[in-house]
Amino acid sequence: MGRQVLLIEDEPNIIEAIRFILSRDGWDVKTHSNGVDAVDAVRARMPDVIILDVMLPGKSGFDILTEIRGDAALAQMPVLMLTARGQTKDREMAERAGASHYMTKPFSNAEILETVRQLVVT
């Protein structure tokens, strides 16, 4: 299949769990753990889907998403945002920044798998 997902997240055990679930489903999972050069990693990998955490060292997920949407080559890329806060404010900010989907931690594995699949189909 070779569908690629880029996971931008800084918590090692979360990375490991998500990588495991998606790999089992046939995804090629690449990871990146800091905010500062996350957009460079996106340009280099050109993944089919991005999973982006909001709280990252160096740069916030909102800023990264804004940069992605501002780049014509990346603007259409599906982005699933993860946040530890379910506040409506965060959801609004994610929507405004152009997130394709938004999910609060803790999430269920089935949920994340389902969402990532859907994001590629549409």
Binding site: N13, I21, R24, R85, K105, N109
Partner: protein
């Protein structure tokens, strides 16, 4: 207004009744006979310390001398009654007939306001506390990892032993982290009630401190160095929170700069010659009005009489409050939009002088002088930062007709028709 209701007249009556000579009373109170003479002829308004000392020597309750205090009590009673149907009528009669009960009620009302403020502060703290937010984020991250890993372990059929071992280790690691995080949270929340002791807003603490000192700091006058600011702060017991100390520090440094620009002796000499007449004083002392206003409001009351001052920042929030008996200022939130203070915020280059009258019972006319000050110059990246200053001077005897009706703040304002109203008043009826 009846002659007898004026403080000076009451003091004079009482002194003559007691058979004390003017010079004798002045000596006992520690003011000059000429100043007492001005007070007795209602040419200087007094309050606070001097009033209390006069009352003590004359052996009367200060409230009997000061109609201002009574007016304040009645205003507090009205405020307390507001919003509760049936109450609030005849507050004046109540205060007159049962002064002790009225004081008690007013005291309880103040306490209530303080408690409400504490609840707000606590709620704020929960929502904006960075430590709490970070701890919660940590806990949620760990829970996410545990949940995801655990469900892999349960749901994956035929999981390879290496993976199984790895995920077990991860869960173990994460559960330790979670336990530590939860423990830290509990410790933090348990300790929280002690950290702020009695929770007042920093602004309340600052103003309690300033009124305690009579808004004047002899230690910061003359050749005092900036280091004295810290000395003054160290002995200030009423400043309990670090936040209050910080804003008090700013106020005292400003005081030092103002005292350097306008040395005490020069200002007092100019006041002696011109009276408390800001425009003439600013010419004589060659200074800007905002500096002069701050200086006048923070001179000893025995030298200049009562001088009120309100300062607000660009958002309209009052950051410095020194009310007068005839001009109240809201302890929290924003004041009445009709104050000249806000006029100069909108038109910074145009100082405003106006007679104002705060509506309510026994409304008295005061003279308000407002001026804007630039606290940071504009640049291409940032606009100028402005602060508005409004000096309030007693103006007993001024023509009532020329005065502008203003309020304190909408909630307790009886002005029936006011285009500037932003919320309904809790006072019914009006005056």
């Amino acid at each position: 207004m009846a002659e007898s209701s004026i403080i000076g007249t009451r003091i004079r009556e009482r002194r003559i009744q007691q058979g004390i000579r003017q010079s004798e009373l002045a000596k006992q109170v520690g003011i000059s006979p000429s100043y007492l003479n001005l007070i007795e002829h209602n040419r200087r308004r007094i309050g606070g310390k001097i009033l209390n000392r006069l009352a003590e020597v004359l052996e009367v309750e200060p409230s009997l001398l000061s109609e201002g205090a009574e007016a304040e009590l009645i205003a507090t009673l009205n405020e307390a009654a507001a919003g509760r149907s049936g109450a609030g009528e005849r507050a004046e009669e109540f205060a007159g007939r049962f002064p002790g009960w009225a004081q008690l009620l007013a005291g309880l009302h103040h306490q209530n306001a303080t408690l409400e403020q504490s609840v707000r502060t606590l709620t704020d703290r929960l929502t904006h506390d960075p430590h709490l937010a970070a701890s919660l984020h940590d806990v949620i991250s760990t829970v996410t990892s545990i949940r995801s890993t655990a469900s892999i372990l349960v749901e994956t059929k035929e999981l390879e032993p290496e993976w199984q071992g790895r995920f077990h280790r991860n869960i173990n690691e994460d559960s330790t982290r979670l336990a530590e995080g939860a423990e830290a949270l509990v410790r933090y929340l348990e300790a929280a009630p002690d950290t702020g002791a009695e929770i007042k807003s920093p602004q309340d603490e600052l103003h309690a401190f300033l009124s305690e000192k009579g808004f004047h700091f002899p230690a910061l006058e003359g050749e005092a160095s900036d280091a004295m600011v810290e000395v003054v702060l160290q002995s200030a017991d009423s400043l309990q929170s670090e936040a209050a100390r910080q804003i008090a520090r700013d106020v005292l440094y400003q005081y030092r700069r103002d005292a350097e620009a306008l040395p005490l002796r020069d200002v007092l000499e100019a006041v002696g010659r011109h009276g408390v007449a800001p425009e003439r004083l600013s010419e004589a002392l060659k200074t800007d009005l905002a500096t002069l206003f701050r200086r006048l409001a923070m001179l000893p009351e025995a030298e200049v009489g009562l001088v009120g001052l309100a300062i607000c920042d660009g958002s309209g929030t009052l950051i410095f409050r020194k009310p007068l008996p005839e001009f109240s200022m809201p302890p929290v939130g924003s004041a009445c939009t009709l104050w000249p203070l806000y006029q100069v915020l909108a038109q910074p280059q145009t100082p405003v002088r106006a007679l104002v009258r705060q509506v309510g019972r026994d409304a008295q006319v005061a003279s308000a002088l407002a001026v804007s000050e630039e606290v940071r110059a504009a640049s291409f990246s940032q606009p100028a930062l402005m602060r508005a200053h409004m000096l309030i001077l007693p103006a007993a005897g001024a023509a009532q007709d020329d005065a502008r009706d203003v309020g304190v703040t909408c909630r307790i304002c009886p002005l029936a028709t006011c285009a500037a109203r932003r919320e309904p008043s809790i006072i019914e009826g009006g005056f």
